[in-house]
Amino acid sequence: MVLAGRSEAFEPLVTPYRGSLLALAFRLTGNREDAKEVAQEALLRAFRHLARYDTSRSFRNWLFQIAANQARDRLQKRRREADMAAAASRELPPGEDPEAGRRAREFRSDLERCLSVLGQREREVFILRDLEELDIKETARTLGCSTISVRVNLSSARRKLRDAVRTICPHLEEGR
């Protein structure tokens, strides 16, 4: 119906995924503020480009693909900003590093600390395959990479996470 031009049909189409989309964005970005912006932008883009949606595919996975792309863009932007802040902080007197202060104040959950040991691609693959339970093929399609790349990154991510659970968050391992 949305494809036929009825914009009011968009809300019922995306409402079932409002929670899972936000959760995915949060896992990918590791930040609630960024997650909400990523999810919003993904929904707006989904509406704009709905004509490109391949109806043979799961709508949820298509939505996740848009969100994953948005999250990647957002993280790259954040990294650039962090680099610029780091460059600026070198010119400040010692003890006045705003980025370090921000990082110290930032609350990081156990899960986030574990996920932080992963590289960008490993993190995306682990979240989509193991947390969101997409299959290998759909994960590859969502991330725009090969299934081999998914398998390699997934294997590496799982090993790193096992070690992280042991060392960084042992209480997770103990089931606390």
Binding site: R48, H49, E173
Partner: protein, 190 residues
Amino acid sequence: MAHVGSCADCRAELEELRDAILRVKAAAREESAGEWRDAEWKALMARAAGQKADRGRSAPFKPRPRWALASGVIAVVLLAVLGVLFRESIFKFRGARLGQGTEAAKKEEPKGRPEQQLAPKPVDKKGKGVPVIQPEYLAKNAGKGAPLRKTPAKGTARQDVLSVTMVSKESGLQVVWFFNRNFEWKGDQK
């Protein structure tokens, strides 16, 4: 999988990995990723509905990519350059088709005196042009017998009508005599 079944070390490692994944998944389920406030969600849906949707395949006009525009411009410039380079040969070809050798005929036209050039060219009864014997030739060859051959020379076209034109220097009067192929006098024109 057959190897894992027979290798205790690999089986233990696999179990560890599974356990770690389960614990991470459990932690992810417990951790709240935040929730949309209703007002926030409604505003977002209104914003989405208010924006213009890309109709994709059914769009009446799809902007062409930059490379398509650049290719078009290059093609036009190339055609213009080729047109300038081969302009002369194109016109020559057209001239040959339309005028059937008029260029060559013009080049071979004798350059006589002005009064001769102004005088109308002699034509036969059918209106066809006829050859002209110049007065200089007649004066030069006076008394040397017939200057014209009855039969055409080898390699030349056979001629049925012959004309002799005489022009008066004083009055400009022209007299043209016509002969047939047997050199019999057929008439004159003043």
